[in-house]
Amino acid sequence: MPIPRDDGCTLTGALSVTTEIERCATIIHGPSGCAHHNFSLLHALHAARDHITTPALISTDMSEREVIFGGEHLLEEAIFEAFSRHPDIICVLSTCVAATIGDDVDALCRIPHDIPVIHVPTGGFLGGGFLSGHINALQTLSHLAKRGEGSLSVNLVGEKTLEYEVQEHYREVSRILASMGVPVHTRFVCGSSLPDIQRLGNASLNILRDPSMVPLGTTLDRELGIPFVDSFPLGMEGTIRFMEEVGAALSLDVTDAIAEEEALQREMVRAFSSLKGKRIRFSTRYAEEGVFHPGYELAEMLDLEIHEHGNPVPVPDPFPVGTHGIRRLLNRWMRGCHA
């Protein structure tokens, strides 16, 4: 495909994790352009989410000289500079350029330090795409966690930190969990600190953001003995199924919570009854990719006709989380039908 995916490279994926950790300094070993791209994109997303801070990134600012003679000395100096800022943890990410010229980033990170200095294996295209970087960073950080006592709580694992609605999705999954009496222990890693990550093993269940995180879920199950549910709640039936799975995994009776959620869903469907009988159509792209099923479920529930000349309505990927996510989506469908 001459037009590639629109989610960036391994580096961006890893940065979406490391820049979320409190008091973490991230070093990008490569030309300043690679760091600028990501610094600017992360700044944009932070601004869109009303964050007033900028990501703590340090570039080793490789130039032609280092491409010829090697750039490990720059990385050493950057680690030294990062220490002077007194972070709790330093994450070192390499770029295509560092990987191509063969700088030994791992060796520099293995030198004993007072705080964890972690090499996240990235390398632009040399390490894969965005998702690989995202998972690699989480896998690497998960080694900091220890087995715990397993209190009645859950970790949220692999949230898509660059997602515009990431906080709304978090609030919704927290609401659903709270309705079952289950608190969130750690968000791995949205806004978490090093001690939060180290205590990851104290939860009883990991809830993965989506099935792409299953390799990580499997690792955490093996290393920390915590089983997982493979996705946040998606769709009407999916939300109820999610509650059943969490209840089963934690040996909880969630009958009342499910009844309340179903009542909320019925109320929501009534609120959008003016959509009844409208003709809608989904984007072909989604239909081809087979990620439209919750959309069909909604259309059926609201008695909408799917027609090739219908009003275009969005079916976002990833699909909004939980019942309140569907409500926000239906507001957009209303606009699509009335515009």
Binding site: F39, L41, I52, D61, L74
Partner: protein, 381 residues
């Protein structure tokens, strides 16, 4: 210290892509990783292509990825530009030879080396521009080219419209629009050029001057009207004095209640010098300094090269300006000052209309934003 804490400015690859992707008959192929593609694709808002290189390509050669990409684009466009990113430049493959042997010499596929490690945005932009075949045309003697248009610039559409308007008011036609036009890599140009951005001067056609800042506009309009006397000085006799009158009145009204602001400007150096001159002349602003994104040239006001967020933070905390003109990085770094966004990136705000910063309307828009930002800050403090 060589490191750069939060680099503020894009690399040469993005500069080259910003220049070439403004030419609608050119398909721009980023020969590199998806990461190198992702940033220009999301900031330029035009279709770009990418060879999406993987580790396998580096081991076995990138020819196959390149050919697969070019074949995928097919004959949708007249010309194609392959911009080589860092890694193909390091591995040193002969991309030109590969393309020539596969597609022949006259296939309209051009190669530009623009690795990010070799320089910054302006260098890449200007290298791409000078690689184009710009030929002076005798049929364009009554026209003026516009240069300094870059899709990276949040004001490019507004600037283009405003400079075109002024050229037409001066009685001339619009020549080549560098670079936003329906052209391939061969472009006919007029003998003279006006600059919408003094940091991206093409050196193609004789320069009539820049249109950024009233002082420069005045000089350029004079040159323009000498060249096209039949316009009877409508710009210098009517439009420019009228705009100045508005600016003077608004600034005077502001100064009746408030002291002139002390200002830090952050952006491309020559552009910031021109804008600083306008703030100094009309508002009596104290220019504390210019944090230049590119290598600073000569100018009336003190300028230093500030490449990273740590540097801008340090400068702003040291200077304690009342007003900052720059990007949303500066807005975030020093929120207690009044802020006007004039430098990319401008994040966290909805921007829809074609707002200029160059030309007469650009000067008015800028002074309007400056005064409103200063007044709003006074309300808060």
């Amino acid at each position: 210290m060589p490191e750069c804490a939060g680099p503020l400015w894009p690399c040469g690859l993005t500069g080259a892509a910003a220049c070439l992707s403004g030419l609608q008959k050119i398909a721009v192929v980023i020969h590199g990783s998806e990461g190198c593609y992702f940033y220009p694709a999301t900031t330029l808002h035009v279709p770009l292509y990418c060879t999406s290189l993987t580790d396998q390509d580096i081991i076995l050669g990138t020819d196959e990825a390149l050919i697969r990409t070019i074949d995928g684009i097919g004959k949708k466009v007249r010309d194609m530009y392959v911009i080589c990113s860092c890694v193909p430049s390091i591995t040193g493959e002969d991309v030109r030879a590969t393309l020539e042997s596969r597609y022949g010499e006259n296939a309209g596929i051009h190669v530009l080396d623009s690795p990010g490690f070799s320089g910054e945005y302006e260098k890449g932009y200007l290298a791409a521009l000078s690689s184009l075949n710009l030929r002076e045309s005798g049929e364009m003697n009554t026209c003026i080219n516009i240069d300094g248009i870059s899709l990276m610039d949040p004001f490019w559409r507004g600037n283009l419209q405003e400079v075109e308007r002024m050229i037409r008011l001066a009685g001339a036609g619009v020549g080549a629009r560098l670079c936003s036009c329906n052209a391939g890599c061969e472009i006919e140009i007029a003998p003279s050029t006006i600059h919408a951005n003094p940091d991206l001067v093409s050196e193609k056609g004789s320069s009539l001057g820049s249109l950024l800042g009233i002082r420069e506009i005045r000089k350029t309009v004079r040159t323009l009207e000498d060249r096209f006397p039949e316009s009877e000085g409508v710009l210098s006799g009517l439009h420019l004095p009228e705009a100045e009158e508005h600016i003077v009145a608004a600034c005077d009204k502001y100064l009746r209640r408030f002291d002139p602001p002390d200002v830090v400007l952050a952006g491309q150096c020559a552009s910031m010098q021109a804008i600083a001159g306008m703030l100094d002349e009309y508002l009596g602003a104290g220019i504390l300094g210019i944090a230049s994104r590119n290598v600073p040239g000569e100018g009336q006001y003190p300028a230093m090269w500030v490449r990273d967020y740590a540097g801008i933070l340090e400068m702003l905390e040291r200077e304690e300006p009342d007003l900052v003109l720059g990007s949303s990085f500066e807005q975030t770094a020093y929120p207690s000052a009044a802020w006007v966004g004039i430098t990319p990136p401008l994040r966290g705000a909805v921007r829809l209309h074609a707002r200029p910063i160059a030309g007469i309307e650009g000067a008015l828009a800028l002074m309007e934003s400056v005064l409103n930002a200063c007044i709003d800050r006074q309300k808060v403090t």
